[in-house]
Symmetry: C2
Subunit: 326 residues, 2 copies
Amino acid sequence: VRAVVLETDGTLALRDRPKPTADGECVVRVIAAGICGTDLELLRGYAGFSGVPGHEFVGVVEAASGREANWVGRRVVGEITVGCGECAACRTAGPGHCEVRTVVGIRGRDGAFAEYLSLPARDLHALPASVDDVTAVFVEPAAAACRVAEQVRIEPGMRAAVVGAGRLGLLVAQVLRNRGADVIVVVRSGRAESLATALGFKTVAVAAAGTSLARRFDLTVDATGDPDGFDTAQALVRPRGTIVLKSTFHGETPLSLSPLVVDEITLVGSRCGPFDSAIEELSAGRINVKPLVAGIYPLDRFAEAFERARRGGKVILTPAPGNEES
Amino acid sequence: VRAVVLETDGTLALRDRPKPTADGECVVRVIAAGICGTDLELLRGYAGFSGVPGHEFVGVVEAASGREANWVGRRVVGEITVGCGECAACRTAGPGHCEVRTVVGIRGRDGAFAEYLSLPARDLHALPASVDDVTAVFVEPAAAACRVAEQVRIEPGMRAAVVGAGRLGLLVAQVLRNRGADVIVVVRSGRAESLATALGFKTVAVAAAGTSLARRFDLTVDATGDPDGFDTAQALVRPRGTIVLKSTFHGETPLSLSPLVVDEITLVGSRCGPFDSAIEELSAGRINVKPLVAGIYPLDRFAEAFERARRGGKVILTPAPGNEES
């Protein structure tokens, strides 16, 4: 089985790996997998991961053991955390916060930049035909975007600024708009501006935002994936407003906490979200992902694909495209 | 009028100042004023303040202009922010968050370490006889403690850890306990431990807390007033839990934001609170402040008083004690 492996020295290489077996889990043949900002951070040391990255995928279940046999042949997407189901965190905060969890392509579990991966059936979601393969790759990030609306009450007319017009930022912006928020997207480049505009958003350049729009927004979302994003999100939020943190990156940021106290800001860390809502929104066409696709590459052109992903947009690897190999 | 003045070089000196006049505000003769952790931070450069510090006080209104004349003779405590009432922040987040606000003894307005101060009548609260002068000094910090319960829903049985057994920490701990939370106080010294224990709290030493109680609490409150407090509060909170920030201090802290995202922590900045609730709780004896008093000093012994305050406990200055001078 061919797989892109992140070595401990931070480099990527195409390797041959043993094919996973259906030992209590389902074996999924990966049709397509998206490169996420987190994957780029993994290469820089985030989470200390080595193994096969990739956690946004669509595939077909090829094998399953025992009572999960009914999954065989289904086209699926998969949640990325596998919890023990028994610890305090599993019981109070959910398996996504399990102390000993594995996370597909991020922590202790190989991911989707490979011809096959395995996952427990309870992590899988069958896809309706209305969600095509390319769209399906966006289920995981769209779920993460939907999570914001689970954590923060989105009121119609609420003024929201999404900082970062990357893949995740533009998904979050759409989710907030769908719930009635008045959304502006803070962009850093002309390319990002075009993309946000194509999706119907007002935009503002990051430099201008900090001055002309300071302290104007009820809700700001940092989806930049870099440390500067927080500063912008903090500059834009009004007193007693809310900042949602969507960025995970390697390293520390020097932060002055006192302004958060003085302005009584609420900061909400936000990670994975509800797959059902995401599939529903994507299936109904309420989240538009097609303009976000920057390129589709076969697995052996992974180096080129990662290089393209660094320049922005969603890049998709196709370990086993379509049904040709089935 | 004698006043303790914080000079621009960070030193304190007893000075003679002009007596405030009732020019649209009420002139309050200060009976007693508490030294707060924030005052100690002001001396280290926090908020860039120079002038008369002191924002926890009880006094008697001696003069008022026009329609506010009915305040004369009343024993009062005072809210500390004075907003313009017209800007966007005043309208959305309240006058406490006014862009051009003054704050008693902290920002653009002389405070209570003086024989007299002035404040608009709308900031004053008359005190019932059931709240004595020493207790009254705690109205402002008790209100700040009550603020936590306005911002975070306190459920009976909720596991809460208050980091810091200082004046504010022990007020917050009492407010949370009064609302049914199961509260433990994280202490740094034997003295703090005795104080917390005297108030009926379970305690744990900060070093032990980080390991044995890591990720156990639904709610943690940083009331330490120093940068380390946040680390402890973060170590103790469970995934998807809430950290309330009560500390304001000078300087930046290197912070890793990604764990807040991964654990989906909510951070709540918390500042001033409802005076009415605080007066009610203190009047009913539901918040016990007497064990927190470390010393009472006349104004001219301010240096000694500040030195004592640095060692912990609430230190009270008495610019015009009792009614002898009225």
